[in-house]
């Protein structure tokens, strides 16, 4: 009862109690933020890596792995964005790619071969939606949280520009490309371990054609986060590919 409550409160305020309480109230840098200690991050990184391998349908684990291991790569990406006019604008305006902000009927009406049309075609063919991207939880910087959110939302654009479907093979190819582009450990791990679930035939195609192409394109292309996709729906995919530096898919 209430007597128990008042007596247990001072106890809870000692040590961890104090820290936890202060963390809850003051350290939520953005909605959904869960502050974590370095030990927790390490455990999360290890646990999510194992779980993502064990159950490839746990997309949330891939997301958590990205957040907990991105402490070097994310600031890098953010700086690349800051030093580029278009990237800088994106950081200022913080656009979000969501079904509620996209005008699907207008995009569908665009000519074939344009970014908008192909993007919508990609979403419909693969039956995916931009709204299923997990919001970041464990990134301890509000701007970096946006950077990783942007990376996740731009992932579908990558599929469209690279012409890769959302099956396991397509995802691995996109991961290779992203690994070279962003340097995020999660992409590197995903690229290296993703093929575990593939058949031998697919592995061969992957190794001989797709991966070399993805790496070459990734190296050649400018930073994919520096493109304001929402302002380029009318641009033909071919022209955008050339502009960024992605080689035509095999």
């Amino acid at each position: 009862g209430s007597a128990g409550l008042s007596r247990s409160e001072p106890r809870a305020r000692q040590g961890h109690g104090q820290e936890e309480e202060e963390e809850e109230g003051c350290y939520r840098l953005y909605p959904g933020h869960i502050p974590t200690s370095p030990l927790q991050k390490a455990l999360l990184a290890a646990g999510s890596a194992v779980m993502a391998l064990y159950d490839p349908y746990r997309h949330d684990m891939v997301a958590v792995l990205g957040e907990t291991t991105g402490c070097l790569a994310l600031p890098n990406l953010r700086d690349k964005m800051k030093h580029h006019p278009e990237g800088y604008r994106i950081l200022q305006e913080r656009p979000r790619i969501r079904l509620s902000t996209l005008d699907m009927s207008r995009l569908r009406g665009l000519p074939d071969g344009s970014l908008g049309r192909e993007y919508v075609r990609f979403l419909e063919d693969n039956k995916v939606s931009p709204d299923t991207r997990m919001p970041p939880k464990f990134v301890d910087d509000e701007e970096l949280a946006y950077v990783i959110q942007r990376y996740r939302e731009v992932h579908d654009m990558m599929h469209t520009l690279l012409g890769m479907p959302t099956n396991m093979l397509g995802e691995v190819v996109v991961k290779w490309f992203e690994a070279v582009q962003t340097g995020l450990p999660m992409c590197v791990l995903g690229a290296a371990f993703g093929p575990i679930h593939l058949s031998a035939r697919k592995l061969q195609v992957l190794a001989t054609e797709l991966v070399p192409w993805a790496i070459r394109s990734g190296r050649n292309a400018s930073c994919i986060l520096n493109v304001y996709y929402e302002q380029r729906w009318e641009q033909p995919v071919e022209s955008l590919r050339e502009e960024i530096g992605i080689f035509p898919p095999p």
Binding site: G1, S2, G4, L5, R7, S8, E9, R11, A12, G15, H16, G17, Q18, E19, E20, E21, E22, E24, G25, C26, Y27, I34, P35, S37, P38, L39, Q40, L43, L44, G47, S48, V50, M51, R58, D60, M61, V64, K137
Partner: protein, 309 residues
Amino acid sequence: AALCPCRAVLALRGGVLRALCGSVRGLAAGTQTHFGFQTVTEEERREKINQVFESVAKKYDVMNDSMTLGIHRVWKDILVHKMNPSPGTLLLDVAGGTGDIAFRFINYVRSARERQLQRKLRSHQNLSWQEISESYQEEQCKPLGDSQVVVCDINKEMLKVGKQKAQYLGYSEGLSWVLGNAEELPFDDDKFDVYTIAFGIRNVTRIDLALQEAYRVLKPGGRFLCLEFSHVSNPVISRLYDLYSFQVIPVLGEVIAGDWKSYQYLVESIRRFPPQEELKAMIEDAGFFKVDYRNLNLGIVAIHSGFKL
């Protein structure tokens, strides 16, 4: 844990803000209570806990095994052994959700019943064939010897998981499932022989009311048993336990169940719960006699027991 240099300043500001908010809230709606380390109204607390158990229900058993490395099974075994139910006992298992205590109870009385019948057979050496077949029939008809367990839980999802488990494991006789609130049980006075609440009383908002209800529904001579996380007095073990609780358990929650927050709540609620002596006093206040407790694993868990006389 991570140390932030500006923590001291922010802590002070945060504390003052929180105190202000707390008093405004208190004026606005309902009595203040706690949800983990947050301060909320009683109504908010009930709702939050409802949400926690709705979301953890499916992975409840998996998480229990992972967090305690399977040791929770031993704790529950010890509880039922301490209960030592004889065939014919009527048990009410409150907050019994996924049925762990209920199934153990059924197993226990079933084997107790078998032993009972075997002893009867052995004591009558010169039985006729008719008498032997009658006793086999008795065993067939009443394998539990009229023992019954009622599982009562406030959360529909937990009960659902429990019923599925019962079906899967083959438990049907002597088992019933009731949706109900420990603070206001839907049962008559003086009904049950034993009342158990395992890892549930921590989530009750008004523990005093739950204890009063427990007293009410028990028969005179009935026994109250509570299995719950408690306080570790040994400072070394306590630090290790805290480290494990706060650093590892929420991570396990995120990785296995995709739910950090519920497991953060779990470890916080354990810290908020009254320690052994205090709970003992509360049980005595409700009218129970011969109230006693036994620490398991140095106080990580404790079993409290009391009798209605």
